[in-house]
Each structure stands twice: as C-alpha cells, then as structure tokens.
Symmetry: C2
Subunit: 191 residues, 2 copies
DNA sequence: TCTCTTATGAGACTGCAGTATCATTTGTGC
DNA sequence: GCACAAATGATACTGCAGTCTCATAAGAGA
C-alpha cells in the first residue's frame, strides 16, 4: 500500500516542517509568514493549509511522553517529588535516543516561544490537573490540597527551567539534567 | 493640575478596560474584536489604539510588584528560597488592600487565559533572568548555575500554582497563601 | 493507454490587528 | 470670548491568517 502517493505526502510534510523550523530559527516564529514557509518548501499556500490547518499545528506537541502512566507505576511509598522524579526518569527511559533527539528540537522550540507555550497550554489543560489527582490519591488527600499544588508547581517549574537550558544548549543531556534538577529539588534546593 | 482633560482620559481608559473585560468574560479573549470593545466603550477604534497600542496591552501586567527591589533588600544570609519568600512578602506588604483587589481581577485573568499567559511571558523575559542574577550574586555563583535556575523555577512554579488557586477563589488571601506555599517549599515540600 | 480519483496550484475573498492621515471637536490659558 | 493645543472620529490602507472555488496535474487501477 506504500504507493508513490503516500511517500510523496510524507516527503512534502517533512519538507514543510523542516523549512518552517529553519525559518523560525532564523527570524522567529511570528515573523515568519506562511507564504514564506510555503515558498521555501516549494509548495503553494493552499497546500500548506491542507497539511497544517493552522500555523500553530506546526509546533504543538502531539502528546506528552507517557508521564502519567509512569507516575502511576511509581512505588507508593515514595514522596511526591521523588515519585515525579522517578516518573520523568521512566518516561524518558522508554524513548530511544533517536526519538528524544527527533522530538527535542520541536518540543524545545514549543517550550521556548511564548505563543507556542500558549498553544500547548490550550491543548493540554488536563496534564497539570491529572498529575495533581494522581499525587493526591497516592498521598491520600484531596486533589485541591495546596500542598499537592505546591509540589506540582515546584516540579513543573524546575523542569521548565531545565528545559529552557536544554533549548539553549542542544548538546546537553536533557533527561539526565532534568533528573539532576529534580534531585536538587528533592534534597531541599540547598546550594 | 487635575483638569477636566485628565479626568476624562482616566474615565475613558477605565471604560475601555471595563467593557473589554466584560466582553472577554462573555465571549472569550480572542473572540472579542477591538471594534466590539471600542463600540461598547463608546469610543472609536482609533481612540482605542491611542490608549492601548495592542490588544494584549489590555491584559498584560504593566509591572510586577516591586519584587526586584524587595529581593535586593533581603538579608544576605538568607537561603535563596527564603530570600524570595521574603521578597514576595515585602512586595505585597507595600501594596494597599485596594491595589491588590484592583489588580487581582486583571492579573488573575491574565494568568488564566493561555493567550495572555503567552503575552505575559513575552513581556517578562527579563524577570526570570533578573531574579536569577540577583540570587547568583547573593550566593556568589554564576547566574547560569543550574541550582539557581532550579530555585527560580521551583519558586515561580509554586507561586504560579497558588496564583491559579487564587484565580478560582477570589475570596482567598492571595499574598498570605503565596507566603504559606513558599514556606512549604522552604521546608522541603513534605506532606 | 484510458479512466477515475486525489493532490495540487492559482487566485479571489473574508476578518481582524495595527498604521497613517486629516478634519473636527473639546478642554485650557489668557 | 479667543486662540492654541490636545483628544477624537472617520476613513482608507497594509499585512497576514485562514477559507473557498475551480481548473489542472499526477498517481492508481484497469
């Protein structure tokens, strides 16, 4: 079934993505017009919209790494921060180096440009709540307990900051650094 | 000097803000056009743009509470998280209850709608860096030290989460709750 | 090769944000 | 009341995202 048609579509899609990200890097997200992307990808504007309904769709994360499942599988005795740290570690371990590298540019980008942060926030309204609910169930308290919120906030804040460092230094070992940062948080953020 | 002109300008500005937020609540931020806001505020489109250069300016925080100054004034011996906690406390203490209440709706709104989160992120690229630099100077390490980033990330994450709780429950004492959350972070996030 | 289906390109069109110009109104100082 | 400066309104304009229509090109299957 892998006819010429399908292969061409894949190539076109990849070409659009590649050129779009190149332009984004060169001149920024909002300064890059769809017309420029289409031209660089040697495709008409209309075709661009057939592949990506909106500009945002170029950069939004289709799905987060299976963080939720990994979190559920953590040992019940672990403290909340430890459990989340373990979940991140497990989630990343389930990805091949290629997958991490492939998704890195795109996700890092999405985490760096404000417009895209918003786009992703809009697409994942449940993630924060979901993490909070699991932690609350583990700890035997209500999901809206301030302490649960604090843990989620602190962990996500630390991860976000590390993610941004990763964005600026692609040579960095992102997963390892995230783990190290969470260990730092776990041990009280002392210097 | 408080002539009629000045008072009219203040009234116009308030009218635009009030009608804009009413419409935002009714039909959402991006679904509200500037033309609608201008009409509701009984003002021409041109005048709207004279008061607010962009739509985003309606909702972005003009300036954070004088957090930076408060942070610089913290006792040098305090640990980073403690210093930030103290800075938040001082910054809020410098505001009257009216100022807090007045800014609350607007800021809460800005913290809730994804587009506006992005707008605020774009406007405060320096805040995070600035806080990091001060903390680094206090601790005698480099501003890009991962530990500094972790502290900033964790604190901002905790504050952001508390801020969202505040958004859902306006009766909450926001500043006090932020202080409590930071105390929780300070003491290791244990349950 | 011939037909059918599907992807593409071209171009016009809408809606909205933001800019620019210029005439008109409306406070302000005298 | 008068002359000046400032705020406003009307209007036309640009630029870009996203939609729509229709003609053409190109792969699929016979």
């Amino acid at each position: 079934m892998s006819g010429l048609r399908e292969r061409k579509k894949v190539k076109t899609r990849e070409s659009i993505l590649r050129e779009a990200f190149r332009l984004f890097r060169e001149r920024g997200y909002s300064a890059t017009t769809i017309e420029q992307i289409a031209e660089a990808a040697e495709v008409s504007r209309a075709t661009f919209f057939r592949y990506f309904p909106t500009k945002e769709d170029l950069v939004t994360l289709d799905h987060f790494p299976p963080l939720i499942e990994a979190l559920k599988a953590q040992p019940p005795a672990a403290a909340p921060v430890s459990a989340l740290r373990g979940a991140f570690r497990t989630a990343f371990a389930g990805l091949s180096a290629e997958e991490i590298a492939a998704g890195h540019a795109r996700e890092v980008f999405a985490a760096t440009v404000p417009e895209l942060v918003a786009a992703n926030l809009r697409k994942s309204p449940g993630l924060i709540r979901q993490v909070g609910e699991i932690l609350a169930a583990r700890a035997g308290c209500r999901p809206d307990d301030p302490r649960i919120r604090n843990v989620v906030g602190a962990v996500l804040g630390v991860v976000a900051m590390t993610w941004m460092r990763w964005a600026q230094d692609p040579a960095m070992d992102g997963p390892a650094e995230i783990d190290r940062s969470l260990a730092h948080l776990e041990s009280g953020l002392n210097l």
